[in-house]
Structure formats: C-alpha cells, structure tokens
C-alpha cells in the first residue's frame, strides 16, 4: 500500500461532503448524502476510520481526532440543511394567520354622527352653522318667538329656570333671533346644540338633548321653497324612495306650521322590501311675521321658514336604538358599534 495521507483525505472528504449537503434539494437526497458519507457500514468516513489500522501507531490519535471533527461538522451541516428543507427559508417561518398588531380604534358619538350627516346635507344646500348660548333669557326663548308666557303653548316645553328671567333654552329657536340680529338676509343657517326640558329620564325623554334648528330668511321665500328644501333634505337623508308628508300643526313662532313625516322603503337582507309607518321627523313652518318684526326686519319684505328636529330621535329611528338613555350611558361596547 502506498504511503497515504489520511489527513488530506479527510479534508477532501469533508469538502466534498459539505458540498453534497449544500446541494441536496430535498430530504431524500439529503439522506442519501448522509448514508454515503456517514453511513455506519458503507459510509466513506467509516471506511477511512476502518483503515486506521494501516496508519502508523504514532499518528493514529491525530487522525482519529481529525476524523471525529469532520464527522461532527458534516453532521451539523446535515442537521442544518435538514431543518432548512423543512422550512425552506427564514421568511417562511411566519404564520400569517396570526393576528396583526392593531392600534386602538376610536369613534364619534352616534348623535354627533347624525348631526354631521344632517349638516353635510344642509351644507350642500347652502347652509352654514350658527350657535347661541344654552342659558338664555325669557325674551329670546319665548317672547321674541311670539310665545307669551301666559299662553298654554308655553306649557308644552316645561322649562328649567336659573334666575328670574334666565332659563336653560327649551329649544334651539333662540338662535333664530340671535342670528337675525347679528346678520342681514339672506340667511340660511342650521344651529345644532343642547336644549333642556323639565323632564325625567325615560326611554324617550331626557332633561337635556340635542336639537337642530334651521332658518331661512330672504325676500321671496315661499311655502313652496320651504316644502321643496325639506323634502329634498328628507330624500337625501332617508333615501330617494322616501315619501315625505307635511301635516298641519302649531308652533307659536311659525305660521303656517307643519310636522314633517317620512315613510321609508326598507330592504331586508333577503332583498324583500317593506314600508315603514309615517315617522315624525321635525316641526317646521313659515316664520311668523311677528318673529321677523322682532328681529328688526320688515315682515312685508322678508319671509322665511324654520324647522327644529331631534338628531337623537332620528338616530334612534335609524339605528334601531330602543331607549334614548343608551346614548348618554356611553357604554364603549355601544359606542364601538358606531366606530366606522
């Protein structure tokens, strides 16, 4: 037997084996590589170790140590490749069905959303928003609005008083007078805001609630404009198929006065449709000439119309809320449903 160099053989074997490991493309071929190099009986490393007897005694420990080191390194490479073949790349260790990392979601109060939706329609119809104080005087809340305090009409809004002639406004209508005083026609405003009544809490009443006032004052404004604008609003808000009805009523500050009712067509999830009852959505009418005169305008020259509606009631109708108090409890599980 020629003089062999077992260390060099081991080095060559290691190089070859590692290359084979690297090039193995699946677990079967990797197993073949293992058997070929490390197999107990047929493996080439085993063969070298079996030939250790040919090696001079003094070199045996060195060669043996080297052979074991090669075995270890090839084994490690095999294991590493094995796990690579199970999960072919580091990126694909991700399980994308795991939940994502979110941030808290917030939301606007449902009544704010109702007010905003109503406001956006009126904005498109040329209106701006106006505001006034929540604590106001008897003059602005009643007298200027053609409602003498000794008339039964003043009873219908049982009022909360602060001192003498100062009260918590029982409707947003005082904003009509304040806006007329501070501006000149043409006036087209809505005024959302809190109003107060001497009511206890029940399913449909709260002592404080939101109202939206509307006012239009100009030359040549007629009952037809009034009907047309509010019918247009109702169809934009409730849907184009909505029927709108104007029903005579009485408010001291408008004449003629009307309640506005809508009847909606609702489509069920299965595609079938049904018609609702008439739903009362607002009180309205042509501004009473006494109100126009109280603002310092000439009622022969200027006419107009006004309305008042409750966005809380409208939100109840729209979202199927059964109890008005739910809006003020502010349970976040309720509010979350409106966080859209």
């Amino acid at each position: 037997m020629s003089e062999s160099n077992p260390i060099a053989d081991l080095q060559a074997l290691e190089k070859e084996a590692l290359a084979a490991v690297k090039s193995a493309q699946d677990r079967e071929s990797l197993e073949e590589v293992r058997v070929m190099y490390l197999g107990r009986s047929e493996g080439r490393l085993s063969a070298i170790l079996r030939g250790l007897s040919q090696v001079p005694v003094e070199r045996r420990p060195e060669v043996g140590k080297s052979a074991n080191a090669v075995k270890e390194r090839v084994s490690t490479a095999l294991e590493a490749r094995q796990s690579e073949l199970v999960a072919p790349s580091a990126e694909s260790e991700l399980d994308l069905t795991m939940p994502g990392r979110s941030r808290w979601r917030g939301g606007l109060h449902p009544i704010t959303q109702a007010v905003d939706e109503i406001w956006h329609i009126f904005r498109d119809l040329g209106f701006a928003r106006a505001r006034g104080p929540e604590a106001d005087t008897v003059w602005y809340n009643f007298e200027a609005l053609n409602t003498p305090l000794d008339h039964p009409a003043a009873d219908e809004q049982d009022t909360l008083y602060l001192v003498d002639s100062v009260l918590l406004r029982s409707h947003t209508s005082p904003v009509q007078m304040r806006t007329m005083e501070a501006n000149e026609p043409p006036i087209r405003i809505i005024a959302p805001g809190w109003v107060y009544r001497r009511d206890t809490y029940d399913a449909t009443h709260t002592p404080a609630f939101m109202q939206i006032e509307g006012l239009v004052i100009d030359e040549g404004i007629t009952f037809v404009d009034f009907k047309a604008t509010l019918a247009e609003f109702a169809r934009r808000y409730w849907g184009p198929d909505t029927q709108v009805r104007f029903r005579p009523s009485y408010f001291p500050f408008t004449e003629p006065s009307a309640e506005v009712d809508v009847k909606r067509i609702i489509t069920r999830p299965d595609g079938t449709q049904y018609e609702t009852e008439w739903l009362e959505i607002m009180g309205s009418g042509m501004v009473d000439p006494n109100v126009i005169a109280n603002a310092g305008y000439d009622p022969e020259r200027y006419t107009g119309w006004a309305f008042g509606m409750g966005p809380g009631r409208i939100a109840m109708l729209k979202h199927g809320v059964q109890d008005l108090r739910t809006f003020f409890e502010n349970d976040i599980r309720f509010l979350e449903q409106f966080a859209r």
Partner: protein
C-alpha cells in the same frame, strides 16, 4: 281630547270610514290621533239578561237565586246583590265568558244552588267604581243581545292631540267641523230623546240681572264677560239613561248622575264648560261673580281638597261665601247630590289668562280650566245653555224657571280681518283666486263680508276669535284647507347665505377627528351635576340629585369610566366637547365656556402576542395634551407643572397645566386621585385632561413652507448631570438659548440614574442637531457652539457634562 267615533258620525251624517280613516283625516287637518281604544273592549262576551224572578237563597241570607232569561232559555243564577228587581235587565256574563282581568265564568254550585253565569256590577265590567250592586240597565233591551251593542259601547275612542292654539277643537263639534270642511258633509246636532220644544226666554242686563226669584251679578267684568244662569226646579237626580252613559264612555268620561252627565255632555259636545249647583245650598237667591275677599283664604272643591285661595282669584259666590272657583272647579258646599231638588245651571265666559293664572297657582287643571285657558266660543253660550237644559229636562225632569238670566257686561264683538290675495301668493308661492279662497274658508265658519281689489274682508267666528286675529292666521287656514300636500315641492333658485359657518364648529370638527385618530370615543353627557361640581343652580329642578350645571366636564367623564368599568370594560378612552357654566352677576345669564375633556385608562395599545401589555402613563397623556393644545392655541402655549393648584380630581404631584400666550391657564391634565374615583380594585391609573376652547377661534396662521435643507446636518450627543433642583425643561431652554442660530433640533433620548451617578442626580442625554441653511457646517464651528452650550449650562444651572 277623547273623541267618540259614534258621536262624530252622528254629528256629521255621511261621514265615511272607520276610526283609522277618520284618524288619517284628522292628522292631515292638524289634529293627529295618538291612540284608538274601545270602551267595550273585553266585554264582547257579555249579553243582556232579564231577571224573571228572584228569590231568597235557601241556605244563605245574603244571596238570591234568580231565574234569568238569556234570550235562549231560562237559567238559574245565584247573585249576591242586595237588590235584584224582577223584570229588570242586567249585564250577564254567561258560562265560558271572560271578564276584564282574565276572570273566567264557570258553572258552579253556591251553597247547594247551581249558578249558570254571573250578573255583573259596573266595577266588574270595568265601567265604574260602583260595586254596591249589579248594574241595572235603564231602557228597552232584548235578552240575549250583545251588551256592548245594546248600550252603545260598540264605539271607538280617539285620543286626539289638540294643539294649544285650537281651543275650538276641544269638542266633538269642533272636530266634526274640521272633518266636514274636508268635504265630509255638514254638521247636525244629534237629537236628544224625549225632549219637547221649549220656549227659551232671557232677561239680559249688566252688571246685574235678576227678578224676584233669582239674580246674577258680575263684579269683575274684565275676568267674566258673561254669565248665564238658569234655574230648574224639581229634578230627579239618578243614573243617566244608557244612551247618555254610553256617549260619555265613548268619549272617555265616567257617568256620575243625570245632572253632572248633562253638563259633561255639553262640555264634550260643544266645548262649553257648564256647572250645576244645588240651589238649596246657595245662601240667598243670587250668584255673585267676584274676587275672593281678604278673609276668604281656603276653599274646599268638590273633589274634597282644601285649596288656598287669594283675592286675585275670581270666585262664584252666593250672598255669603264662594261656591266655586270660576272656570276651574265647583265647591263641595253646593255640589249636586241624590237629595238635590232644585238646581242652578251656570254657563259663563271667563278670561283665559286669569283662569290660567288661577289654576296654575292652585297646581291643578280641569276639563273646564283647560278649555277656558284656550278660549271657549263667546257666541255659543246660549245654545250650550239650551242644550244643557234640554238634557236635564229629558233625563231628570223638573221645570225650567223663566226667564233665564243672561248677565253680559261685555258683549262679544266679532272681528273682521283683511286678507290680501297678493299676500297669500307671496307667502304660499302659488296663485290663488279670491272666490276659491272664500270657498276654502267658509266651511270653517269664516264669512267673506266683501271683496275689493283683491282684499277679502273676512269675519272671524267666535270660536276662532282667539287664534285668528291677523292676516297670516287666515293664510294658514287657506293653506291647511287647500291641503299642504297639494303644494308643489320643486326647488327654486336660492341666494347664498350671508352667514359664515361658525369657526367653533370647525375647530370642534378638527378636534373630534384628531381624538378619534388617537383611539378615543366621543361621549355625550348632560350638563347637570351634583352640588360642588358647579356654581350655577337650576331654580326648579325636577330631581334634587343633579340641580347644578357643571363647570367642568372631567367629573362627568370619570362617571362614564366608572360606569364602563362596572360593566367590565377595562380599556376606556373617552372625550367630550361640551359647555362649562360659571356664575356671573346676579340676574345675569351664566358665563358659558366651550370645553374639551378627555380620559384614558387601561392598556395603551390593544393586547398582542408579540408584545407585553403596557398601561397608559403620564407621558401618553402629556403627548396627547401637547398635540391638542398645539392645534387649538398654536405654538404660544406653555405646558408647566407645579406652582398651581390642580382641580380636585387630580393628583397634585402628577398634574400639568396649560398656560396660554396671554398668561391665562386654559387647561389641566394629570392622574385622577384614588379618592376621587369609585373604581374596581383591578382598575389601573386613570388619566384625564380638560381644556377651555376659545369661543371664537381664529382660523390660525397660514402655513408658510420652510425650504427643505440643502446642506448636511451635524449631530452631537450630550449626557448632562442634572442636580436635584434642575429640570430637563430648564436645561432644554438654556441649550436653545446658547447653541446659536444653527441649532435645528433638540431632543431628549435617554435618562439614567444609578451606579456611577451621585444620589439625586439624573443623567439626561440630549441630542443636538445643527444645520446651516447657507453652508455645510465645519466641526470646528459645531464644537464652538457646544462649548457655548456647556458654558451656559454650568454658569446658569450648575449642570455639567457626564464624564
């Protein structure tokens, strides 16, 4: 106003449709119906039974055994009533029928005698409180007939909502008039049975009218324009006939006796309140309408209540004492009773405002006062009186004493209102013909007296004299009768509004969007609060729990957190935009300030498998407040801590405040103290802020772009040792003041305390970024800047760099 459908149909012959259709008509006339009920509901099983013979129960003293004709056969019924008349008719609940209250009638044996059903009392049928005996039916009846058909309870009661201006609709005739005007025919008063044509004679006078037998005197003609009194002698007070009782029940009223029922009938039919006095109880032969005297301070009304009266109240008096509160309620000292023989009927016209003042002062409202407040027909008094007399004579007998006394110091003068066709068109927006306008108004009782050059002179009937006084009132009648639905609704051109959108709404919109972006929920809470949370008091609160208006929104938000936590909601982030109220001078409206408040508790981010949960801290709150404040007040605002008393809810040691450019404190933020909140043990820290918003916010300064840098920046880190009294804010200010104009940015990037640092000293690491807009900065220049910074820090604050 409860309206009987049968009564309406009798008033408007030819009125078609059932209660639903009538309701729909009324809704479109401005008098919507809230509810439809039937006085005969639950009584459809009851039939008429005639007692053939009643005998004593053999085994019970208090029971009677009756042979009753039920229309088909004769059955035996045991009855506990004290009086059962042979030959009389009673409501019979046969075996198998169900009485109100779900009471089923079974065949039974009572003390050995079989009973096939039950003869009923009014109370058992839900028709009254009378339980003393079974309900004897007055009139002709056929055994076996349906009870509700036989007595006229097959009616529907409409609960009509009458607006405050339409006192004339508080009567069946008024409602009928509206129906007739919508093309349903004309009105005819139903006939009263067994009534003979009476000659009515009046004696008129003012302020006193009378004859030998009786007199009426009005002392205050401003509060009582007219008083008609009629004396009827020899009446027989008893139950009304079934037709009258049924009529009242159909209109939601309880029958009492024939005299009271007659007055109620007239009230319900014509809207004229009537009152009957027991003449024998009146001292002296006269009635005086006057104010209560100083001595008269108490009066017992016929409901048995003792009422405090005062001299501003108008009273009906005999020669000695008051016997009724005018327009409100009679007294129990002159009430009609079973023993009454002679009566005085009152039909009067009292002042609406005075009646309202009186009844409000007494804290009561009656059918009479409700109508007087809203105005009764000044032209209808005599016909109402005559109708009432006919009813009394028909149902109670007796003799009318003539003449009837009509004291009328202020005769009614009808008014004429001018109506311009041009004004109708200007207001309503479509053309109208004068003739058509007259046609629209006529069925409502208005008369066009003349028409000249497009101006109609319209006479207003008495029953509309309260609400129709101006041209526009007539225009409403024209629009209403023409039909609101018959006006087009085509949108015409409109001029642009002169009013700008209020800037506070716009600021609120922006803030809402920002806070929702921060993951917060907007809440709305009423402004009421308990004492201690505000200084503006409601003078007539309905509850004593929250009689004040809040000066701060924070307590309301904290209560919402408590509410949520009580329901297991741990992560709560809320904000509210609302008004804060503050007391001003006496008699002045309070100061109102728009506020924004927020509250945070729980985890700062939703839980996720990749990270540990982290709770909100002061640093989250501070960053939020800085963001919000910057958007509201711009850069001119200082965030400070210490030196100011924080609101009671907040921890003084964990509180910052916001000072506006002018020096005013406009907001607070901090940790809610444990004492201030009522939270479960598992609750974490609660963080809250509140900020006053400007009432009229400016649009803010316009953005003017800073050109993007063209030269590289140079960064230097500086670890500084801050002695205990020195704050990072002071250090930052000193750095900015000394680093020269090229300092572009300054940030804190680390804080270290512990080993290698003396106790009480903090090592705070700052990163300074220098950049020139003109050139690339040389290291030498930056080093020079840094030296200046260090020098200033050492000299001013005793702060040194960490070695």
């Amino acid at each position: 106003m409860n309206v009987s459908t049968k009564w309406l149909i009798d008033l408007v012959p030819g009125l078609a449709g059932g209660p639903e259709e009538i309701s729909e008509h009324l809704a479109l006339r401005g008098a919507p119906v809230d509810d439809i009920t039937s006085p005969g509901r639950d009584l459809s099983d009851i039939i008429i039974g005639r007692v053939i013979r009643a005998r004593q129960h053999p085994n019970a003293d208090r029971l009677r055994v009756c042979e009753v004709d039920n229309g088909e056969e004769t059955v035996q019924i045991v009855c506990g009533a004290p009086v059962v008349k042979d030959g009389a008719c009673y409501p019979l609940a046969p075996v198998g029928s169900i009485l109100p209250g779900d009471f089923k009638i079974k065949r039974s044996k009572i003390r050995g005698e079989v009973s096939h059903g039950m003869l009923c009392s009014a109370k058992e049928l839900g028709l009254g409180d009378d339980h003393s005996g079974i309900m004897e039916l007055v009139g002709d009846f056929t055994p076996g007939e349906s009870f509700i058909d036989a007595v006229g309870l097959n009616d529907f009661t409409l609960d009509v909502e009458v607006t405050a201006n339409r006192g004339d609709l508080l009567s069946h005739v008024g409602i009928a008039r509206e129906l007739a005007a919508s093309g349903e025919g004309h009105i005819e008063l139903p006939e009263i049975p067994d009534v003979s044509d009476l000659p009515f004679e009046y004696q008129t006078g003012a302020p006193e009218v009378g004859h030998a037998g009786f007199s009426v005197r009005i002392e205050d003609e401003n509060l009582c324009h007219r008083y008609i009194g009629a004396v009827i002698r020899g009446v027989n007070v008893k139950s009304s006939p079934e037709w009258l009782q049924a009529r009242l029940r159909g209109a939601g009223a309880r029958p009492v006796n024939n005299i009271v029922d007659a007055t109620n009938y007239v009230l319900l039919e014509l809207g004229q309140p009537m009152h009957a006095f027991d003449l024998a109880e009146l001292r002296g032969q006269s009635v005086i309408v006057r104010g209560a005297s100083q001595k008269e301070t108490k009066f017992v009304t016929l409901d048995g209540e003792t009422r405090p009266i005062s001299s501003d109240m108008l009273m009906i008096c005999d020669e000695e004492v008051p016997v009724a509160i005018a327009g409100v309620m009679g007294g129990n000292n002159s009430e009609v009773s079973d023993r009454t023989v002679d009566i005085l009927l009152e039909c009067a016209l009292f002042d609406p405002k005075a009646t309202r003042t009186t009844r409000r002062k007494l804290g009561m409202s009656t059918d009479a006062s409700y109508r007087y407040e809203r105005g009764v027909d000044p032209e209808g008094l005599r016909s109402a009186m005559e109708r009432c007399i006919q009813l009394v004579l028909s149902t109670a007998g007796g003799e009318l004493e003539l003449p009837i006394l009509d004291c009328n110091p202020v005769p009614f003068e009808s008014s004429t209102v001018e109506l311009r066709v041009s004004r109708i068109e200007k207001l309503l927006g479509i053309p109208f013909e004068a003739g058509y306008v007259g046609d629209l108004l006529a069925p409502l009782g208005f008369t066009v007296e003349k028409e000249t050059d497009g101006v109609l002179h319209v006479r207003v009937p008495g029953f509309r004299s309260y609400d129709v006084t101006r041209e526009v009132d007539l225009i409403e009648e024209v629009a209403r009768t023409h039909g609101f639905d018959n006006f087009p609704d085509t949108l015409g051109p409109q001029r642009v509004s002169s009013v700008a959108d209020h800037p506070l709404f716009q600021l609120e919109d922006r803030l809402r969007a920002v806070l929702v972006g921060h993951g917060m929920f907007e809440v709305q809470t009423p402004a009421f609060c308990p004492e201690g949370e505000g200084d503006v008091e409601v003078s007539n609160p309905l509850t004593t729990v929250e009689p004040f208006l809040r000066s701060s929104l924070m307590p309301s938000l904290l209560r919402r957190v408590e509410y949520n936590m009580a329901r297991g909601n741990r992560d709560v982030r809320l904000f509210e935009l609302g008004t804060s109220f503050h007391k001003r001078g006496s008699g002045e409206p309070p100061l109102e300030e728009p506020h924004l408040a927020g509250i945070l508790t729980g985890r700062r981010e939703p839980p996720h498998w990749s990270r540990e949960d982290e709770e909100f801290s002061i640093w989250d709150l501070k960053a939020l407040v800085v963001d919000i404040v910057g958007r509201v007040y711009g850069e001119e605002v200082m965030i400070e801590s210490g030196g100011v008393k924080c609101p009671t809810l907040l921890d003084d040691d964990m509180c910052i405040y916001v000072r506006e450019g002018s020096g005013d404190i406009v907001g607070y933020a901090g940790r809610v103290t444990d004492e201030a909140s009522d939270l479960p043990v598992w609750a974490g820290d609660v963080w809250s802020f509140e900020l006053a918003l400007p009432r009229n916010p400016s649009k803010g300064t316009e953005v003017v772009v800073i050109p993007l840098p063209q030269f590289p920046a140079s960064e230097r880190d500086l670890a500084l040792l801050l002695p205990p009294a020195v704050t990072s804010g002071e250090v930052a200010e000193a750095i900015r003041g000394s680093a020269g104009p090229d300092l572009e940015a300054l940030e804190v990037f680390d804080l270290y305390v512990g080993e290698g640092i003396p106790a009480g000293v903090r090592s705070v690491a700052f990163r300074l970024r220098f950049r020139s807009i003109r050139k690339t900065l040389k290291d030498k220049q930056v080093d020079k800047n840094m030296s200046a910074v260090l020098k200033r820090l050492e000299e001013d604050l005793g702060v040194e760099a960490r070695a």
